[in-house]
């Protein structure tokens, strides 16, 4: 629902990084979105394309890498990874005490600029 706000933040950060490095046009923006970040890739692509005209990213492609939710159980100490967006308990021992290692990402990793 708030993918427009995310796209706004994404464009502002990308434009800022590009200008800071002395370039004037963005061709590609690569990002990592965690499966548990609450952001829908399709909605983010739509918002990004709607907001990019009139910016130096007007022709930029958005490349999204989805990161699965992974964690370590604090009870049985095993690692786990899931395709689900949320986990309520450790898939091995069903303890609800676990630490999330990845899956909440909302990161820009690379820009292609000229």
């Amino acid at each position: 629902m708030h993918e427009v706000s995310i796209a706004e933040g994404l464009l502002a950060t990308a434009v800022n990084e590009c200008k800071k490095s002395g370039y004037g046009k963005i061709e590609k923006v690569s990002i990592k979105i965690g499966k548990a970040s609450g952001v829908m890739p399709e909605a983010l692509l739509f918002a990004f394309d709607a907001m990019k005209p009139d910016t130096i990213a007007s022709e930029a492609v958005l490349d999204i890498e989805e990161v699965p939710l992974a964690g370590i159980c604090l009870y049985c100490e095993k690692n786990f990874e899931t395709e689900d967006s949320y986990l309520l308990c450790c898939p091995h021992c069903e303890s609800s005490s676990f630490r999330v290692i990845s899956g909440r990402e909302l990161d820009i990793t690379e820009l292609e600029v000229f």
């Binding site: 629902m1 708030h2 706000s5 933040g9 994404l10 370039y23 609450g38 949320y86 909302l106």
Partner: protein, 214 residues
């Protein structure tokens, strides 16, 4: 030319949230971001809380709504400082909206500031605004399935208020399931059962608020 970057997409919001937090800390005010579905009782809870803590804590309120000033008018009647933010469509408050509202409040005169977020169980949980704690309300009429349907907000909230307990005899709602699922999502969450209508449980809640601000 490829540029390697390592930036948080919401980095601009997070930085501004930290700046708000610095201003709050310097002013000596404790800040709670209050979130819930529309109609769960955020404004009613604030009314009950302000009345119960009258003469004990100096409270201020920032009201977030898509449009309208009804909530701010209700708080204004109680004689506490209130600022209304209209997001004009946005489904949540962000750090910049709060930053811009701060000029209208004398923060140094307050002990406790409530930020009443836009009614929504999803998006407000994603955006830091500079608060010390997030607190959420779930009203019994919403049903016991909500913690597992909207887990992020339950995971992010330091306290869960289960409101409208006076309606329990009329509803097929399993309060124990709400408690169990909320605690499995966030074992540290503090749960209060309240009724803003009858005042039940409000003293436990306001007692907890006083321990936070003392």
């Amino acid at each position: 030319m490829k540029l390697k970057v390592a930036s948080k997409i919401l980095g601009a919001n997070d930085r501004l949230a930290e700046e708000n937090r610095r201003i709050f800390t310097e002013s000596g005010v404790y800040v709670i971001n209050l979130m819930s579905s529309p109609g769960a009782g955020k404004t009613s809870l604030l009314e009950s809380t302000i009345k119960a803590l009258s003469g004990k804590l100096k409270i201020g309120v920032i009201e977030g709504d898509i449009t309208g000033t009804d909530d701010a008018a209700r708080i204004d009647k109680l004689g506490v400082p209130v600022v209304q933010i209209n997001t004009g469509g946005a489904c949540h408050l962000d750090a910049n909206m709060i930053y811009e509202a701060l000029g209208d409040l004398d923060l140094k005169s307050l002990d406790l500031l409530f930020i009443e977020n836009v009614g929504n169980l999803v998006c407000p949980a994603e955006f830091k605004v500079g608060e010390n704690l997030k607190v959420m309300i779930l009203s019994l009429t919403e049903g016991h399935d909500k913690p597992l349907k909207y887990p992020l907000m339950f995971q992010e909230s330091a306290a869960l208020l289960i409101n409208k307990t006076d309606l329990k005899p009329y509803l097929d709602v399993d309060v124990e399931k709400i408690r169990k699922d909320a605690l499995s999502l966030n074992p540290a969450t503090k749960i209060f059962e309240v009724s803003c209508k009858t005042g039940q449980g409000i003293n436990d809640w306001t007692g907890w608020l006083q321990t936070l601000t003392s």
